[in-house]
């Protein structure tokens, strides 16, 4: 029943050095806030993506700490300055310890 994790990363493929680009990230996740009845007298534990980090050119450029106040299929948009051609690594951390990684390539001209 588990929906496979999926993410859509939207950003320009190329940028001039020093240009500020906007990165939009949409992940597929139910972001279950927990607390509902599980039908057996207990409650469902919280299971959300609690953190997204973006690493680019050897440094963490953005971190998004999420709590239950972020919607299902969380969307986030942020900016970064294009410094070098390379991969931007996006890593999500889920409650329970699972993590998911996606990358996107940026060419700096």
């Amino acid at each position: 029943m588990a929906i496979p994790f999926n993410a859509r990363i939207s950003m320009p493929a190329e940028a001039k050095a020093g240009e500020i680009i906007e990165i939009k990230v949409l992940a597929r996740h139910p972001m279950d806030r927990g607390g509902q009845s599980d039908g057996k007298g207990g409650t469902v534990p919280r299971k959300i993506l609690n953190r997204l980090t973006a690493t680019y050119a050897g440094e963490e450029i953005f971190r998004f700490d999420m709590h239950t106040g972020v919607s299902a299929n969380p969307f986030v948009s942020f900016t970064t300055k294009a410094v070098a051609s390379g991969e931007i690594v996006f890593e999500w951390r889920e409650d329970g310890g699972a993590s998911f990684t996606r990358t996107a390539r940026l060419t700096v001209t």
Partner: protein, 180 residues
Amino acid sequence: MSLPISLRSNAPDALRLSEKEPDSAEPRGGRTGPSRRQLVAGAAAGLALAPLPRPAAAAAPLSEHVLRLTEGVVPERARLRLEIPALVENGNSVDTRITVDSPMTAQDHVRWIHLIAEKNPFPDMARFHLSPRSGRAEVATTLRLAQSQTVTAVAALSGGGFVMAEAAIVVTLSACIDGG
């Protein structure tokens, strides 16, 4: 007005206090002059005004959540723009954009932006960590809101200061309906 209730509960204390005070406005033997009601009301008013730490109580329209984040520093209501719809049909996914007017240099940048929904079961919604490499202090996300309330964005600046903005939002259908 809660005056009659507090007046009744404070009446014995108030009388005792006014008798002890030598410079009381009420004359000692003048019981026949002012009525008993005026005397009690005057004493109660004096009691209410004197010992309460009024300035502290009056100068705190900020929510305790904001002060918890800023560790007691009062943030400036400037430079931060919180774009959120004034009315949404449901609170499941509310588009929100936050922009802070900052040069984003190593000396002067936004360290983080935090979103609070005071009436959510868990008021802390999200925190964005930024750095000079962000280039601009502009972030957007989708929020989940339990009910109509005030959403607050607080940003921490590299210089140690804080800025904030608030926006009232009407949510016609909550995001906290079980099975919804």
